[in-house]
């Protein structure tokens, strides 16, 4: 058989790339982002040190654009294209998977809009030098605070369902049992990210540092 017959269509490759970028690097970045921002739960100084560390990584622009912004732009942009090619029918067939199909699209759009705004306010307006102080200031605005909460919940949900979709769609969880387990794992990730994200927001809003006891006592 000629090799040309086994070549996949471009739409196949783009679709696979969309699925893959959702997990790597976008999902992985969300994990890194929440991890780094958790520093705020220890202390203001710890947060500032962590952001200083990240703000001074070598090849910063290349890492930011190549590893974060462009993959996100592709994942979000192609995601909208996929949405437009689907036609929801959840009112006729209100099954769980069908609901997740719909919510995955709305949470994706909310997360995409939120991330754009979040980048603008915390990355562009601060020229990439945001501090605990500058983020805490933004959190005093009730509209900002609401958008932060909505954005964190939408992103966490989208990642949780995305992990389930990824495991099913790459055939890593094929049997009914495996797909149930994949769904439980995705739910666990979604809930864990939601909780951590909300804790970080609370830390900034109320100057709250529950892990400050980890710090050596000051004399």
């Amino acid at each position: 058989m000629s090799s040309t017959t086994t070549q996949p269509d471009t739409s196949y490759l783009l679709r696979k790339l969309h699925s893959f970028t959702g997990l790597l690097p976008v999902g992985a970045f969300l994990a890194e982002h929440f991890w780094s921002n958790s520093s705020a739960l220890v202390s203001r100084a710890k947060y500032d040190a962590t952001s200083q560390e990240l703000q001074t990584i070598p090849f910063r622009l290349i890492v930011e654009w190549g590893g974060i912004f462009l993959p996100m732009l592709f994942h979000g942009g192609y995601g909208i294209y996929i949405w437009l090619r689907g036609k929801s029918n959840v009112s006729a067939y209100p099954w769980v998977g069908n609901w997740l199909y719909v919510t995955q699209r709305y949470t994706g759009l909310i997360a995409f809009a939120y991330i754009g705004w979040h980048l603008y306010t915390e990355r562009w307006l601060t020229h990439g030098t945001s501090t605990y102080e500058s983020v805490a200031m933004d959190m005093q605005n009730p509209w900002y605070l609401t958008f932060f909460v909505v954005g964190v919940l939408a992103s966490s949900f989208h990642l949780g369902v995305g992990i389930w979709n990824f495991l099913c769609k790459w055939g890593l969880a094929a049997t009914v049992r495996a797909q149930q387990a994949a769904g439980q794992f995705g739910a666990l990730v979604g809930v864990a990210f939601s909780v951590v994200g909300i804790l970080i927001i609370l830390s900034f809003r109320f100057d709250w540092h529950p892990f400050s006891a980890y710090l050596p006592p000051t004399k």
């Binding site: 996949p8 196949y12 090619r85 067939y93 055939g171």
Partner: protein, 250 residues
């Protein structure tokens, strides 16, 4: 004497693909074990609406009446299912009957499901056993593969899985779960496996397996209980391995 029990049926009528649609209501005499096909036959026997207006018999496809030929799929109370196994006593009345929406309409409840058959041809959903010379005996099929394959071979190409799929619509030529499951069936057969890469390549073309978005409606709608989501996952794994590793490992 007790009044005879009636069955109220509302049918979406359309004389042709370009004609306007209307609903007609019928009142039929209830009988035990009545199904939706019996209702349509009763209407054909006496095509008079509930309001006493004379009308024409309803066009529809059906054949075996035992959920094995796959021809009588339609929307019954808004849900895609086989009319022959839709029992009147289990349905809310008036029973609303409409044609499937994802296939071109022929007339009334009859639709043209040629798209499915073209897709089956596209993925070579068969096992080549004939040649210009005697090909001899094929390899034996292990009992394990026989057991896995049997439920997949129950597919009746009714099209319910396409009808309920949000990814099958006018913007999207997605082949649907049934076709992907058939690819799995023929790829797992030792003789069929000889065309495995061709089938996978066809499924990675436009409207191929990539269009599945994991809503998983198909597996709920399948009248034969085929593990469609499992089939899609299995074929997905084979497909990306061929696409992404094929050019590396050969």
């Amino acid at each position: 004497m007790a009044e005879t029990k009636q069955v109220i049926v509302s049918v979406k009528r359309q004389a042709g693909p370009k004609e306007g649609a209307r609903w007609e209501e019928f009142s039929l005499r209830w009988r035990p074990s009545m199904n939706v096909i019996i209702c349509l036959r009763d209407i054909a026997e006496n095509p008079v609406t509930r309001g006493g207006q004379k009308t024409t018999p309803i066009s529809y496809d059906s054949n075996c009446l035992e959920e094995i030929c796959g021809s009588c799929a339609m929307l019954i109370n808004g849900r895609a299912r086989m009319a022959c196994s839709a029992l009147v006593d289990q349905l809310e009345q008036p029973i609303r009957i409409a044609p499937m929406s994802k296939f071109p309409l022929v007339r009334d409840l009859a639709v043209d499901r040629q798209f499915m058959f073209e897709s089956l041809k596209r993925v070579k959903a068969w096992i080549p056993i004939d040649g210009t010379y005697n090909l001899g005996e094929g390899p034996r099929v292990s009992p394990e593969i026989q057991e896995k394959g049997y439920p997949l071979s129950n597919c009746i190409s009714c099209g319910n899985c396409l009808e309920v799929c949000p990814q099958v619509n006018e913007h999207n030529q997605f082949v649907g779960a049934a076709i992907i499951s058939q690819v799995r069936l023929f790829n797992m057969h030792p003789t069929g496996a000889m065309n495995k890469s061709e089938r996978l390549a066809a499924l990675m073309g436009p409207g191929g397996i990539q269009e599945c978005a994991n809503a998983q409606n198909c597996v709920h709608a399948c009248p034969k209980g085929i593990p469609l989501t499992e089939s899609i996952a299995e074929v997905n794994r084979d497909a990306w391995k061929q696409a992404l590793l094929g050019w590396l490992a050969g």
